[in-house]
Symmetry: C2
Subunit: 183 residues, 2 copies
């Protein structure tokens, strides 16, 4: 019965704010996470002249059979929008790190292929990547914490189903529309 007085927001717990321990967890988490990714991005850029996003593209390609992957599949594995990937691969192609080919079977499809130069660039960047990870993530944690972090990440990931590239369509209403509690 109900009815919350003001409402608007959305759930059975309309907008209960975070309690202090939750706040602390969140702030510490964002700060740590950003510090880590920023360091990674910065070192990769300065020492290997490559943004993290590009490194990851080359990495995933390097692990694929024939170092080849369909654009869509590559996007999925990277959890990237297809637009972003397209732009990025365009730049990687200009740098001769990747090349693209259309599929003979279905000419709508395209594959990205890691070039020799691309593999070399990846190899050059890898030590930097590993070093940052060790220094800023793995070394500061105990073995147990690494295990805990994996489980925690897994739980977050499972609760957060990959959104399809085409942005979640929320129909036309431009209003902050309350959604069903369990979506």
């Amino acid at each position: 019965v109900t009815t919350d007085p003001r409402t608007a927001a959305s759930e059975d717990q309309p907008s209960r704010l975070l309690d202090p321990s939750e706040q602390k967890a969140w702030r510490t988490f964002t700060d740590a996470t950003r510090g880590l990714f920023d360091a990674l991005e910065r070192r990769l850029q300065s020492d290997a002249d490559m943004p993290l996003a590009y490194y990851e593209i080359l990495l995933v390609l390097s692990e694929a059979p024939d170092q080849t992957l369909r654009m869509g599949e590559l996007a999925r594995r990277l959890r990237s929008s297809s637009s972003r990937l397209s732009h990025a691969v365009g730049r990687l192609e200009a740098a001769d790190h990747v090349r693209r080919e259309h599929l003979p079977s279905d000419r709508r499809g395209a594959v990205a292929i890691l070039t020799t130069a691309g593999a070399a660039a990846l190899a050059a960047a890898t030590p930097v990547h590993v070093e940052v990870l060790r220094r800023h993530l793995l070394d500061p944690l105990t073995r147990e914490q690494v295990t805990q972090l994996t489980a925690i990440s897994r739980a977050i990931l499972d609760a957060n189903p990959t959104p399809p590239h085409p942005r979640r369509r929320r129909d036309d209403h431009p209003l902050p529309q309350p959604r069903d509690p369990d979506e």
Copy 2:
């Protein structure tokens, strides 16, 4: 023996790759982290028409005495470069969410001040922010895991001293970059 374990980019362990459990930890962690931040960014943008970065600026300002903070201090708390903050506050000022004033005491300095409209925008965005955090981070974890995550984040943060805005200069060793010949 000139081993300098501090400055050497990757001399100690030239390029020991990650072992499988480390790899798994890293991949799961990045995927979870990105999924979370992407969801946050997307929902904030679509439901409150505000990028996460701006939300955070308003939030930090709102917690300051007189909702006022020096630009430099604001940048430090947000772990943002001063350039980035300057641009962002410029846009927030255009949106009338923040206003700037010079200090009378030291006219080089400037403060950012949250406006009434800015406070309102923050209040409107907060429920979305909280909802995403609960759904994608807090709810999926046990209480114990939240505690673990806080400790883990703390450890990462402590190992990762905030770099000063002006890019960390690593000019000590003009090291021969293993780079490809074409650039």
